[in-house]
Amino acid sequence: MELSTSMHIAQGIHGIAFGMVLFLIASGLNVIFGMMGILNLAHGAFFMLSAYFCYQVIAWTGNFWIALILAPVFTALVGIFVERFFIRKVQVMGPLGELILTLGIAMVILGGVKTFWGTENLAVAVPPVLQGMVSLGGMDYPVYRLFMIALALVVLGIMGLLLYKTRLGKIVRAAVSDREMVNALGINIPVVFMLVFGTGIWMAGVAGVAIAPILTVFPGLADQVGMYAFIVVVTGGLGSLKGAFIVSIIFGLLSSYGVQFLSQLAPVLMVGFMALVLAIRPHGLFGVKE
């Protein structure tokens, strides 16, 4: 394959891989907002916390796969605890109370990781089986980045199945439409929403583990990646999983082809795209006008 052709294809795959990571983070945020109406400012912090859990589980077990299972679960448990004992109590205060609370939770998580793990950069290695390159039509591509794409698709598939093919999914969707009616049918809505919150945090947790081997784990991880999640969610439309998916891929491709063709402008392309979308559709690409 010609060098320039293979480079352009590789840039496309890089864009998709990055987009998938963005989607993993943003979709969790979107699930929580779309179903519970909570704009969780601590979402990036949960993502970071999962990366730290991943580091810790690997330090204990030496096994990335165990970390991939346990770290998002631990993070989700923390999320469930936060929802049960804090967020639920401020919901009567409306969105402002939730925003202030989740911002505070983000700061507590940041302080916590600095206390437990310190401020230095911690390393998570790519598991041996995912190291190296694979040949794709004459072009070498890192196995781990393909794994990230596959992982995001699996999570997307699980979410789709859960929401649209299970009884639990039906209850959740019904609860979103008419909370009181579902409650009257004898379904414990607070528990359902607690599980929804936990699931959203679990998705952030999966993203945290997935990204740990290509970044360093450090207290700035939430700032580094968390903001992207909000840009994706706002641009895709608050509450729209489809919007989050499509915008994540667009952002990923804008990022990689931007670097390729408009290197100096690459960092502002995402923000420029968001501004353009919001100027035309203030509620986002797939958002529903309230």
Partner: protein
């Protein structure tokens, strides 16, 4: 007989010719070149034997006397993405101050005074930096502001120092602009190396010593420092290696997550060396992702020395990387018992006493590299205050300008009087696996890190080849030579 004599002579000539070709004379000359005469004698020499009892020092728990003290504020990122920089500065400054206090303090203004070190967190933000620097001066009444990670932030600290007439010491920010005609302040001292020196030093190494790689790709952070260090590298190549070719350059935003698109461009450009001025986390992330994507080129760098990440990527991966450093010394690292004692004082504390993160991690193990340099620069500051016999900034300025100071490593620093920039030899370090680190680490266990690449061979870049840039528009430097004389 005559025939035999001629034959021997011819054979000798042939062998001499071959020897000169195999044995690269430029390498030998560079290694054995003499230290410049202006950097042989020093006004003051650090005396390891006069160090105080450091056995109680722990950067995580150290407490400083309060009251009528010599007050120094460390202004750095103690939170946010670059929080580790604050920890590094704190360890460096607090250890030097602790040592001086253990010696009984410093005689200033007719009285022995202890040193008190305060933390000021600028959170990597300009507005916060100004606020905290002003608070340190106006409320805490500090005598010296020491900083900082980020030239844009150091500029703010220098401005505050100038406004309130206190000393500012820059121990790490390398932008040349900090001391140009526009920004120069009599109260600000830049005791660290500068961007122009980094670029010229690496240019000198590749063009005059190494003479091998020709194609370079530049990738730096997109802000004042990243641009400045990239320009200086280009300038250095132009000056010392005209045959070199820049095959590409990119500037990415701070704290970039995904470097893959940049690395794909680098792969296509096929450089021999990748130059980066990136600091953590961008530096390690760039390098790590490059290796994950199969790029095997060595990185010429300034900050890719974090042992945690070097362990993660493994010894083979980072071997061959080239780093320019102000801490470096001619190999081997330890030439005198005093140097070993100085090293062990730190290392033994790390091994036996420090139990709190991050100070118990590998990053703090050796007290060398950038951390070691910061520490030595603060010792210089304290020596200047001691010799000034006062915390009066005018008296400190009078002593520091043109001062020469010998570090524990043997190297001499000279503060150029007209623009307050330091003149010093620099070193280029080649990273090597454990078995090749003994060329540098000449005491047991004969390696710096068993499972990571670290300092192997080093090459001295003579000070006269990398004199700091001097702004011709700065009146104080008019009619001065590059040594400021």
């Amino acid at each position: 007989m005559k025939f035999i004599g001629k034959s021997v002579l011819i054979v000798l000539c042939v062998f001499s010719f071959l020897f000169l070709n195999i044995y690269n004379p430029s390498t030998a000359l560079a290694q054995k070149s003499e230290v410049h005469t202006k950097l042989i004698q020093a006004n003051y020499e650090f005396d390891v034997d006069k160090m105080g009892d450091m056995s109680g020092f722990d950067p995580a728990t150290v407490k400083f006397p309060k009251g009528d003290t010599i007050r120094i504020a460390v202004i750095a990122s103690f939170s946010g993405p670059a929080a580790i920089m604050g920890d590094i500065f704190w360890a460096a400054v607090s250890s030097a101050a602790y040592d001086i206090n253990q010696r009984g303090g410093i005689m200033v203004d007719g009285k022995k005074k202890f040193v008190e070190v305060l933390k000021g967190d600028h959170m990597s933000r300009i507005d916060q930096c100004k606020r905290v620097a002003e608070r340190m001066v106006l409320k805490e009444k500090v005598h010296v502001l020491v900083g900082t990670d980020g030239s844009h932030l150091m500029k703010v600290i220098n401005q505050v120092a100038n406004q309130h007439k206190v000393i500012a010491q820059n121990i790490t920010s390398t932008s040349d602009d900090l001391m140009n005609a526009t920004n120069f302040s009599r109260f600000a001292f830049m005791s660290c190396l500068s961007s122009s020196q980094v670029g010229r030093g690496l240019g000198y190494y590749y063009g005059q010593i190494r003479k091998k790689e020709r194609k370079f790709y530049i990738i730096c952070q997109d802000y004042a420092f990243g641009r400045s260090i990239a320009d200086s590298f280009k300038q250095g190549l132009k000056e010392y290696y005209p045959k070199a070719k820049i095959v590409g350059e990119d500037y990415h935003k701070l704290f970039t997550t995904d470097f893959a698109p940049y690395l794909e461009k680098i792969r296509a450009a096929k450089p021999d060396v990748i130059f980066t001025g990136n600091w953590a986390p961008d530096g390690p992330n760039l390098f790590k992702q490059a290796r994950q994507m199969g790029l095997k080129q060595p990185f010429a760098n300034l900050f890719l020395d974090d042992p945690n990440f070097l362990h993660e990527v493994g010894p083979e991966s980072a071997s061959g990387n080239i780093q320019i450093t102000q801490y470096g010394v001619d190999v081997p690292a330890f030439k005198t018992p005093e140097q070993i004692k100085y090293y062990k004082t730190w290392h033994d504390l790390w091994a036996n006493k420090w139990k709190t993160e991050p100070y118990n991690t590998r990053l703090f193990e050796h007290g060398s590299g950038n951390l070691g340099s910061y520490r030595q620069q603060v010792y210089w500051l304290l020596s200047v205050i001691e010799r000034a016999g006062s915390t009066d900034p005018e008296k400190i300025i009078a002593v520091w300008e043109n001062d020469t100071y010998r570090l524990p490593t043997g190297k001499v620093l000279k503060m150029r009087a007209c623009d307050h920039r330091v003149i010093q030899d620099l070193h280029v370090v080649e990273y090597a696996p454990a078995d090749k680190q003994k060329v540098s680490m000449n005491i047991p266990p004969y390696y710096w890190y068993k499972d990571a690449a670290s300092t192997g061979h080093t090459w001295r870049i003579p000070a006269e080849k990398v004199l700091p840039w001097m702004d011709p528009k700065l009146d104080r430097c008019a009619d001065r030579d590059e040594w400021g004389e």
